[in-house]
Symmetry: C2
Subunit: 346 residues, 2 copies
């Protein structure tokens, strides 16, 4: 499955997915091929609309293809219904291009649940993976922290958390080049005995997993950046992720309220704003290239509905990295190892 550094990687891009589709998707595709000589893009969606947008740019037309798909899955549709009924949607067709080998990876800024469901249904799971998971990078004081699961699995068993830890470690190792990444278990206290029933049991599994497990970490540790991979159930992870994303909006609103109080405040905020913006760009999820769905038999990345063209490009680059690293083969190997290890030691 992996490709050499010079082979061209083709990424299928759901052109109708995001809030501003297909405008940002088309601009993102153009930005991608302009800046990455070994990534080609296939845009899936309403061909006439897409081609209308493409006309606004000059680019190497041999590197962006359009694959017509007439249907659109909207943000508020039920994922299960949508992927069953809308087989000719840009989302489903984009993933099918991966299965048929016409694309190497898929990216979408569309309905998260639908991307998960269609990826799982169309591509299947990697052997021995019980539950595919979504990992998200968090802004930290230093270094890289990937939290998973952030929403694919709301009710988890201890063994699921163990598998998330394996997949997150492979991702941190092969995508962020962190050797022997540290793994923490998100809980409510550092001691092994702290946590809900699932967490306490998962702690035991992680201890004998052979991963670089450093024990429980707390909510306050996520942004410290001392732990490379933090595992939790998708209920907790999703709530923390969405909370984190809202911090930027709260700060902006607070700055605005303060500025509105007086001309002098307005001046001070004006002085501060550039600085703040610069500092807060770590909170800007556009930079991170979307969240990967790990554990499916293919490369599938989900971005924010409001992804900018740059965010789209970053998602394409992330997908390319995952393809070149052959990340799924490595996950398959590690999951096999750990399943044997856990079974043996029990």
């Amino acid at each position: 499955m992996s490709k050499g550094a010079k082979d061209t990687v083709t990424i299928s891009l759901d052109a109708m997915g995001g809030d501003n589709a297909p405008v940002n998707e088309v601009a993102g595709a153009v930005e991608t091929v302009r800046n990455n000589e070994n990534i080609n893009i296939t845009l899936t969606g309403k061909a006439r609309l897409i081609e209308g947008e493409l006309k606004k740019f000059s680019y190497d037309s041999s590197r962006i293809n359009v694959f017509n798909a007439e249907e659109i899955i909207t943000m508020d549709e039920s994922p299960a219904d949508a992927i069953r009924k809308k087989l000719d949607s840009s989302l489903v067709q984009g993933i099918k291009l991966c299965r048929s080998g016409n694309a190497d990876g898929f990216i979408s800024a569309g309905n998260t649940g639908a991307v998960m469901a269609a990826s799982l249904f169309t591509l299947g799971r990697i052997a021995n993976v019980s539950r595919p998971t979504i990992g998200s990078r968090f802004p930290t004081e230093k270094g890289i922290t990937v939290v998973l699961d952030v929403g694919a699995n709301v009710d988890c068993k201890p063994a699921h958390l163990l598998q998330f830890a394996v997949m997150g470690s492979v991702f941190a190792n092969h995508i962020y080049n962190i050797s022997n990444p540290t793994v923490g278990l998100l809980s409510v206290g550092e001691e092994k005995s702290k946590g809900d029933a699932v967490t306490v049991e998962a702690h035991g599994l992680l201890q004998k997993s052979g991963l670089n497990f450093i024990g429980n970490v707390e909510g306050r540790d996520i942004m410290k950046g001392d732990t490379h991979v933090i595992v939790c159930d998708g209920f907790t992870g999703n709530i923390v992720l969405k909370f984190a994303e809202s911090v930027l909006s709260l700060l902006k609103s607070k700055f605005k309220d303060y500025a509105d109080k007086s001309i002098f405040n307005k001046f001070k905020v004006g002085m501060a704003y550039g600085t703040l913006k610069n500092i807060l760009k770590d909170f800007d999820y556009q930079e991170y290239g979307g969240v990967p769905l790990l554990g499916v038999n293919g490369v599938s990345i989900i971005g924010h509905g409001r992804s900018s063209p740059k965010a789209i490009m970053n998602m394409a680059i992330r997908a390319e990295q995952m393809v070149r690293a052959g990340i799924n083969d490595i996950i398959a190997e590690k999951i096999k190892d750990i399943n044997q290890f856990i079974t043996k030691s029990e």
Copy 2:
């Protein structure tokens, strides 16, 4: 249990609890009696140490008492062990003063788990309350939001979440003067069907509860301030609370990194810092007067280990409000009503 506006309320204060005890506790006690003519304080702890600190201030000595207690429960002790073995600790003795009627409420910046355990053990639960809960106020774009549970109960049943909603509503109504407070259920999507098994079932209970239930809210909604009371299990709530508390430290660290890059940056950050500090004071948990333990048969409030004298005073004021409002009688009434309602409608 409630007191008139002119009666004096006596608060017992664990003088050995916080990271800087008894210095901040004693200063907080003095600040309290200076600024609040109807609150008296009884400091519990090593009398010699406390009296040594008290000598540094001039204050009305009839309004601050010292109750000697020789033992200290430290932050890292196991709560269960500590409260069993250290019966003559400042923490346990402070709560006992409430049970014996020598104090009307108790506050501590000490070991959270020990305060919870000792309060529950010594004061008991309000009739029909299954699980006492800790509620915390979050900073929001506007208005007041109380999230509960934030750590007292890691594994919850749907009926527990319902009781948290009742206690949170009473608190929001009688302490923050919000009539008919809105109640949200923290989950991973707005639809009733979204969430883990416990949340989905709790949704059904809340719908027929007679509370002002507005449905599921997500992580991003916590700081919007549109919902007065948000309920969740203590595992999720604790992780989100500690994450939120770490935001301030991340921002400070980011500002410092940026300033360290150049003299010009340093100047810009210098200009911005006052503004930022002003704006971020909403993230400063010192202002909020600690977190109340709701559902125990008495008033017990827990503060941060690093509580300042001002934070201690705010805790004493909050305890006084809870005593004057007779909040536990109201909780007892509402919990009885809701238990009957739920039983009837099933």
